[in-house]
């Protein structure tokens, strides 16, 4: 229950009943601030009530979150990190830093992070089990793979009652096999090749957005396409990336068996890792044919997912600016 301290300074009965030393100290501090209402104003305009609540920053039952645009936090997770004071970053070239961060175990420079789970040591990102083999296979193995897939598709056609030998279906197994290998080519792609050194020191610290990137992916549950648009925004920390690299990274993660939630998150994490900006935000809206063509069959429904990192996660205003600029739901 939210408690307000009266200007006269008398302790409210509930606070006394809590018997929490911390609360009393905080209330005294708040009074000293001149607020006079026992509430402390944190950065970013979020008001947090310090009077009640359990350990780990849990709220008392019945108390509302003060900001609905902040992501809800489960108290069983790690407690909210303390808001850091802004300190000037030294202008370290992210290109050089990226190389260092790519090798495991490097934690020297304060502006690098520990090796990301997103990008492996050789630039692949969440490769599947056979990816590295497939990268190194010769023509004979490729033929063998294609032949197995053709056999499987032929079985599919027979099972649905079609005649695999009629003219229209004769080459369908091969076409489908090649199409599926194309739709899953993202596993083989190497982030370093994609980015290709296109990171430039620009001393630009305003938001950069690339919106309406068409994305086509395959639903891993039904092997049916889902397609839509992705909007990517980031705030550089002095280094900008070539604009086309953002859709290329999106393409790399989309050409796989995916779910929309994971796709959004992987793109955001990859850009964060490669560029190390102040923050990254990715929003994706798409239509899932597995829901449109079959099952519940709702044709006009759209699914929207998002992933915000860095300053977009911390600051509501930044997040709102991004969301209004991309104009989802207009």
């Amino acid at each position: 229950m939210a408690q307000f301290d009266s200007p006269s300074g008398s302790e409210s009965p509930a606070a006394l009943a809590n018997g929490d030393e911390n609360n009393k100290r905080n209330k005294a501090k708040a009074k000293g601030n001149g607020n006079g209402n026992g509430r402390t104003r944190l950065r970013d305009g979020d008001i947090k009530d310090l009077n009640t609540g359990g350990p780990n920053g849990t709220r008392a039952i019945g108390e509302r979150r003060s900001s609905v645009s902040k992501p809800a936090r489960d108290f069983r997770d790690k407690p909210e990190p303390e808001p850091k004071r802004k300190k000037r970053r030294t202008a370290v070239a992210p290109g050089a830093v990226r190389e260092e961060a790519a090798t495991p175990g490097d934690a020297g420079d304060s502006s690098t992070r520990s090796p990301s789970p997103v990008i492996d040591f050789d630039g692949l990102s969440r490769p599947s089990v056979g990816t590295r083999e497939r990268l190194e296979e010769d023509d004979a193995q490729k033929e063998n793979r294609l032949a197995r897939m053709k056999g499987a598709v032929r079985t599919l056609l027979e099972c649905i009652g079609e005649d695999p030998d009629r003219e229209g279906l004769l080459a369908t197994p091969e076409r489908y096999a090649k199409a599926m290998l194309f739709f899953t080519k993202g596993y083989q792609e190497n982030v370093r090749d994609i980015v290709n050194g296109a990171i430039f020191q620009e001393r630009h610290n305003e938001m950069v957005i690339v919106k309406d990137i068409e994305v086509f992916s395959m639903c891993e549950h039904h092997l049916v396409p889902f397609n839509g648009k992705m909007h990517i925004g980031y705030i550089p920390a002095n280094a900008v990336i070539g604009i086309s690299k953002l859709p290329r990274i999106a393409e790399m993660f989309a050409r796989r068996l995916q779910i929309q939630e994971r796709l959004t998150k992987e793109v955001a994490n990859a850009i964060m890792e490669v560029l190390k900006p102040q923050g990254v935000a990715v929003v994706m809206e798409s239509s899932h044919l597995c829901m449109v063509m079959r099952g519940v069959q709702k044709t006009s429904s759209t699914t929207i997912t998002s992933c915000v990192l860095g300053c977009f996660e911390r600051k509501e205003k930044t997040r709102n600016e991004f969301l209004s600029l991309i104009g989802v739901n207009r």
Partner: protein, 214 residues
């Protein structure tokens, strides 16, 4: 008009043999499809045992059988005697029927809208039957040209109106997601029979009312 080859008394179309798909055969077919899908997943280097893909073969098998359920449907059952004697000789159009079909060349969906019009000859058909007939022929492995033609011929056969016109505009994912990758391209096909074929004015009136390209 000589009997169209597209509908015979027992079977729906010249390809596919739906009468034999009994229930047991369907289960066995589903198992075979699941095994085939597992092979495909291995060939694209995915791990069929990871959580997200564990039931995917079964889900895909059911989805594929749903997308090809049109083979097992008979037009006479679908129409269900919803043909009524009515002294109406003006054009009847049902437009913007959403169609989802599977391209037979790449096994990828193509989706779009179909517009069906006919001029009755003393008999009208229940309006939903037009959409249902379209559904019967679209839930198969198709090409857009054949789909349009089959719907037109089926309606002509079942109702014997003065004329039938079917126009379909669709977006082919096989062309959008891969290959040439043109996302805004639409394919339009049409089939006109009877008075629509004979009279330019009738055809024009239909095309104006349907409003493709407006």
């Amino acid at each position: 008009m000589s009997p169209t080859p597209s509908i015979s008394s027992e079977r729906i179309s010249q390809h596919g043999d739906p009468a034999e798909l009994g229930r047991e055969l369907k289960m066995e077919g589903q198992r075979n499809i699941s095994d085939a899908v597992r092979t495909i997943l291995e060939c694209i280097d995915e791990d069929p045992a990871r959580e997200g893909l564990l039931d995917t073969p079964e889900r895909y098998a059911k989805a594929l059988l749903f997308f090809t359920k049109g083979y097992g449907e008979k037009v006479s059952d679908i129409v269900n005697n919803a043909i009524f004697r009515e002294h109406h000789h003006e054009m009847v159009i049902v437009k913007d029927i959403e169609i989802f079909s599977m391209c037979e060349h790449h096994l990828l969906p193509f989706t779009g809208k179909m517009h069906i019009g006919y001029i009755p000859n003393g008999f009208v058909i229940g309006l939903s039957k037009l959409a249902r007939i379209a559904e019967v022929y679209s839930r198969r492995l198709q090409i857009q040209e054949r789909l349009t033609k089959e719907v037109a011929y089926a309606l002509m056969e079942v109702l014997s109106p003065r004329g039938v016109a079917v126009v379909m505009e669709a977006c082919h994912l096989c062309m959008v997601m891969r290959g040439v990758g043109k996302t805004t391209a639409t394919t339009i096909t049409s089939c006109v029979l009877g008075s629509f074929e004979a009279n330019e004015k009738t055809r024009n009136e239909f095309l104006n009312l349907v409003g493709v390209n407006k």
